[in-house]
Assembly symmetry: C2
Homo-oligomer: 366 residues x 2
Amino acid sequence: MALISPSRRLRRTPFSEGVEAAGVKAYTVYNHMLLPTVFESVEADYHHLKSAVQVWDVAVERQVELRGPDAARLMQMLTPRDLRSMLPGRCFYVPIVDETGGMLNDPVAVKLAEDRWWISIADSDLLFWVKGIANGYRLDVLVDEPDVSPLAVQGPKADDLMARVFGDGVRNIRFFRFGLFEFQGRQLVIARSGYSKQGGFEIYVEDSALGMPLWEALFAAGGDLGVRAGGPNLIERVEGGLLSYGNDMTRENSPLECGLGKYVSDSQLETCFGGRALREERAAGSRQMIRAISIEGDLPGCDRVWPLFAGGACVGQVTSAAWSPDFGANVAIGMVARAHWDAGAVLEVETHEGMRRATVEAAFWI
Amino acid sequence: MALISPSRRLRRTPFSEGVEAAGVKAYTVYNHMLLPTVFESVEADYHHLKSAVQVWDVAVERQVELRGPDAARLMQMLTPRDLRSMLPGRCFYVPIVDETGGMLNDPVAVKLAEDRWWISIADSDLLFWVKGIANGYRLDVLVDEPDVSPLAVQGPKADDLMARVFGDGVRNIRFFRFGLFEFQGRQLVIARSGYSKQGGFEIYVEDSALGMPLWEALFAAGGDLGVRAGGPNLIERVEGGLLSYGNDMTRENSPLECGLGKYVSDSQLETCFGGRALREERAAGSRQMIRAISIEGDLPGCDRVWPLFAGGACVGQVTSAAWSPDFGANVAIGMVARAHWDAGAVLEVETHEGMRRATVEAAFWI
């Protein structure tokens, strides 16, 4: 691994002081901001995440705020997912698609009120697209990045830790719902969500000044629960099939290829961006699809696209891979062409350290 | 400095193989791509840049391509700079401004033809804004990121090295103009431009497959010129007052504050995005402005905003700083409020390792 040059452009977060004190070893850069990725080691962090509770600095999940009379109209314009059933207090995973049907981001929309939304984004400047659309259509809506920095609490003991800080009411938050809970006299949005399969919460910390007090309160309350600092874990997310925008999908991919068809509503395809392309793809069938893939042998880190081959022809690519201690296998995520995407298909993957045998799996590992 | 976690999302470039072989020590992340920043050391690289010639992997300067009947119209909509005098073969530095007058990017526009432009971008997904505007205004133009990766050749011996590879014709390229030159049977756009004050060229490598052959040709031709791999150098760019988007300016800043008033044309302010805000700011005078600042004492790396104080009140901020061996001073870039921006004003700057004395300079150091 190489070093990262420090600069203001790679933004620190309201929790950086805590992250550094916890001994962060590596970062990635995400939405022009530092995202801590390793504390003890990727594997040690993984075991801990699955057995205890971690606090994650995911301030990189920046918010695009929509506020004003046209906020709901704009939100619906942005995604092929039908939002008519969405009430305030709900979070919806929403593919955002351009005019060609390509993915621009795969955020979570948070409906605060009919006229106020947050879009909690993956790694692209979705703000620029949303502002461009709002300007082009002359919508009556303000679009901006507010001072909101999510802090995630993830792991099997997340409910216990959160209850100690916010009260037992947090236990009643249902999946992808949120409530308002008090911290130091301020009301914070807390959702049951997060980028792991271990369960937990995301706290939308509205006001950077609350960042370190909240970080410290969580660690002070969770000593006996074994709370540690952590971050999105490569092994755990690949086991669980959690896609990563920029890794497993890009603007080159449609949401249907990404296995997100259930978030593409037929009712929206007449009006949403890329609707025609998505209708045609749905009618004809996708030519490739996201799949769980296992790989044999020793693997280098997957820092680039690894082509998949069948009989010498390229039939897809692997974009994330890791050794899974719990499943005793190299787990991976890739796109596979239709003729080869059935479970059990045996392929070859060309890593940058040589060819390996790969198998299409029926499902992800969790 | 911390380590950077590898992933496909932090894209490699067509030159990564050469960069690694040259012993890269650190990167930054820029436009979701790896930008090499250090080879020997920041200071050794700086001395070499100023005395010899370097080849820089600046593939991170991604292009937004506009192609079609409305390309020129769209390009003019995007910037307050009047482009009517711009002929094909020219490069223009163009502030890109949103509806509030805030900077979205500060790219170089490359006019290939009336109906075909490249926008060579700084670190933000300008593609998303441009696509949003093109869609919102239903313009007849294709907007995409083509397979074009700039490679810069910078330093006092840049002309000699380039002439050996492309012929003496490159010596006649004027500043911010470009010509087409052949390499391995392909015509490449070569501009006299680059992110240093040492002179040189940017080669727009159209087709990733040409990347390593061109890299190797430059090194093979330049052994006796002392050619080395390099990258944008913090010390040299601060000495020269080369602003960095995301460091020295963000969406919070107008182009007038950034000292880019000469690229804001009165004739465009009736129609460009943010025109009203820019007219009002121009009439009233900017409340703060980019300034060269010298700082006394030992400095940590400037990885965050350092507030500037006068008499206990915050009057600005420093966003880039480095020790300059050639000028024997800590050179810095910051924004300073009007009452304190005159040359000679003495301020205090709050680094994350304590207060230092700072002085507003009359000009940058080169």
